[in-house]
Symmetry: C2
Subunit: 279 residues, 2 copies
């Protein structure tokens, strides 16, 4: 693990790291915010998964999260959104391949060599972070935005031992039912849609079993989000949750779009949501 | 004035504009944050001048200022740092020409055609903003970072009718006495250093006259700023203020560097400093 840079921030430290990852066979980048409280003991932590085109730097510089994270004593981890490097296959466009890992383990050539973001986040990075930073390992939440909201929801729903709380900003809730999902998952997983269901938050919720929880899921969605109707469709998730009795707080915000001005406006509510559950 | 994009943010609106500017003979870019309070009446306002390599987008996305600006009912204006466009002369490197206007009116060829950021900010943009947005015109402050801190201090010291409060993050306080200043001002203003003094915050303070004020100037400076000793030298400003009795709050912060993690850590103190004076 290589420290690339480190910056004092709100009494804590923001650090950027890279490390050679086995799961994605490339150097991966992430940032970590350690609040001052982490000097004196273990702290709860939140993983933030970013959306299409983003990197480990997007949330870190644009969310405005660290003011309250410092106050609440929250460690914040922001990974990159895909494998990187000249040897990693890529494609033209911004909604697939680099910057668009979709938090799945690819099974199709040529993507299956590197595009294993599901295992990277839930196993390799998760273990690395636990080993290297003072996390309270029973108090870890996950949240994200858009493609990263999809990642956060699906990872949470399958890894409740690892992640105890979840929330999302404008998430893709059903890649089975939107163009971004069709493009990415047909490439990463092939045409058999049965294999897509384990990466579909609506399908996972509907499958019941380990998916329900006494803890609410928080989702914020801007009404003026240009992707709301074509890609996001939070009403699908709302109805899936209702059917199985999963508590959901879905807030629709008049005037807000899909970007970080929206995220920064409600970021503090998300931190409070997680802390309430993790405490 | 052309609206390029507009985003809801903390109950207010962040908008990006461009306009054809006479003073710089090119299209200029800026952003404005209007808090919700601006729908119902005039509000106090703060201009933020950014540093070398920055644009109107840097503060807007990275400072985390709008949470408290929304609460305080502050309008925030973030201009670009230089003229732009293919017809505008430029030079290799990041500390002169585009992205480095130094908030002066150039007198030397070829820079004097476009590099008139002093007149642009204090006259052209100032008038435009007053005409187009609901500003309370006796409650306008100015602040900035590094080169923009130099801009804010020098503009404030010469335009107290227009700007009633000032603060800075890691400002260049004396371009007469640092390499960044030597390079920029010798190009923009020529080799006669007597002409530089009107753009030197220390020299303006020392000249007395209209420079003293009953209102304190706030400066925050990171101790781990790599430019502290070679370029910034706040002790020069401290001593100039002391000599003429100008009240200065100069805070030195252990561990903090020159970037936006530093700025975002103390941004709210700056907003409060201005509001206290402007109220």
């Amino acid at each position: 693990m290589k420290l690339k840079s480190s910056h004092s921030c709100h009494g804590g430290i923001v650090s950027y790291y890279s490390h050679a990852a086995n799961s994605t066979k490339c150097d991966m980048n992430f940032s970590v915010f350690l609040p001052e409280q982490a000097r004196y003991g273990n702290c709860p932590a939140l993983y933030y998964l970013a959306g299409l085109t983003c990197t480990e730097d997007t949330f870190t510089t644009k969310s405005g999260a660290y003011r309250l994270a410092a106050e609440l004593g929250l460690i914040m981890i922001a990974p990159d959104t895909s494998p990187r490097g000249d040897h990693v296959p890529d494609e033209e466009g911004w909604d697939f391949a680099k910057g668009a890992g979709f938090y799945v383990d690819a099974t199709e050539e040529p993507w299956n060599e590197n595009y294993n973001m599901y295992s990277y986040i839930t196993e390799e990075l998760y273990e690395l972070i636990l080993n290297k930073f003072p996390l309270d390992n029973n108090r870890i939440g996950i949240f994200g935005h858009s493609m990263g909201g999809h990642g956060a929801l699906t990872i949470y729903l399958k890894n409740k031992d690892k992640f105890q709380s979840v929330s999302a900003f404008a998430p893709i809730v059903s890649p089975l039912n939107c163009p971004w999902g069709h493009k990415a998952l047909s490439n990463y997983l092939g045409e058999d849609r049965a294999t897509w269901a384990k990466y579909d938050a609506c399908a996972l919720i509907s499958a019941g079993g380990n998916v329900t929880s006494s803890q609410p899921i928080l989702i914020d969605q801007g009404i003026n989000d240009p992707f709301l109707e074509s890609q996001l469709m939070p009403e699908r998730f709302e109805s899936a949750c209702e059917d199985v009795g999963q508590k959901l707080i879905l807030r629709r915000h008049e005037g807000y779009d899909h970007g970080y001005f929206f995220i920064s406006s409600f970021i503090e509510d998300h931190l409070k949501h997680h802390v309430k559950i993790l405490d």
